[in-house]
């Protein structure tokens, strides 16, 4: 995977697989400290200590269709190659939190990629999950919570063409605005 947004999609799919009702995705570009931080936090079923300690190992997966899971190990290796780290914490019955950090300016750091595309895909593809997306660049912040949108829609599918266009634009504008404001204030 060549963009962090694809890794975010992959990690978020784990949250859905863990039965999460609400997933928070936070992306923070801390430019003064030269760090890029991504947090994915869910209220899914969580993991036992034993599985948690093995989950960053490429030869562990909870999936039954195939025995090798590479999502988290790949992301961990990518972070460690960029003066960063990956931290996974979990409580059974409460949820799981993944935090991954990179040196923002590191030459090997993957680009963030298409964040709007990732969030749109998750919101549309898993409509029963409440998705909250927070994007910070410096002091600028964009928050997207799909709950008010779904409440307003009252059962109309998110794939209704005009609604789809609306959400896509909302994400694109918000992300672009945060990037513009955050970098302007540097």
């Amino acid at each position: 995977m060549r963009e962090l947004a694809l890794h975010i999609l992959d990690i978020a799919e784990n949250s859905v697989a863990a039965g999460a009702r609400k997933v928070l995705i936070a992306v923070e570009e801390d430019l003064p400290k030269d760090r890029l931080r991504i947090v994915v936090e869910d209220d899914g079923r969580g993991m036992e200590e034993e599985l948690l300690s093995r989950v960053t190992d490429p030869f562990v997966t909870s999936r039954t269709t195939r025995k090798v899971g590479l999502g988290i190990p790949l992301l961990k290796a990518a972070a460690e190659a960029c003066n960063g780290s990956l931290c996974l914490t979990s409580t059974v019955g409460k949820g799981t939190r993944l935090e991954v950090e990179f040196q923002h300016s590191h030459i090997d750091r993957m680009p963030l990629g298409d964040l709007a595309g990732t969030i749109l895909t998750l919101v549309v593809g898993h409509p029963t999950v409440n998705w909250v997306f927070v994007y910070r660049v410096g002091k600028a912040e964009f928050t997207f919570d799909d709950n008010p949108i779904k409440q307003e829609l009252d059962g109309i599918p998110l794939t209704e063409p005009s609604i789809l266009a609306f959400i896509k634009e909302m994400l694109r504008e918000g992300i672009a605005q945060a990037q513009q404001d955050g970098r302007a204030r540097e």
Binding site: V124, L153, E173
Partner: protein, 122 residues
Amino acid sequence: MPAIKSLEELKRLKEEALKKREAMRTSGRVQITVAMGTTGIAAGARETMKAILEVIEQENLSDVIVRQTGNIGLDSWEPIVEVVVGDEPKVTYGKVSAERAKRIMKEHVMGGKVVSEYVIPS
């Protein structure tokens, strides 16, 4: 710089969608599922999903539901897309690039004709 999208605008879109929905209550539903496991994502499933959503938007297709699912155990065929039109049996497509997805949308979802060359042989 355009104003950030407001809930007011969403309300207006909802009213319009409701009216349209009333008008087409009789037409069949289409359910599309995109496999979004690690292998699917690495093979380009997000771009496939985006292409499907783009066609829905461009062609103004109401009554199409798009969902995503985890790995379905056919890794060498990723990205995988399943299409169910009305009461017809499920069709499973393999190696669905964004381009192929657009063709499936036009020929199968809109035209009603299965794109047999992309169907995973069982």
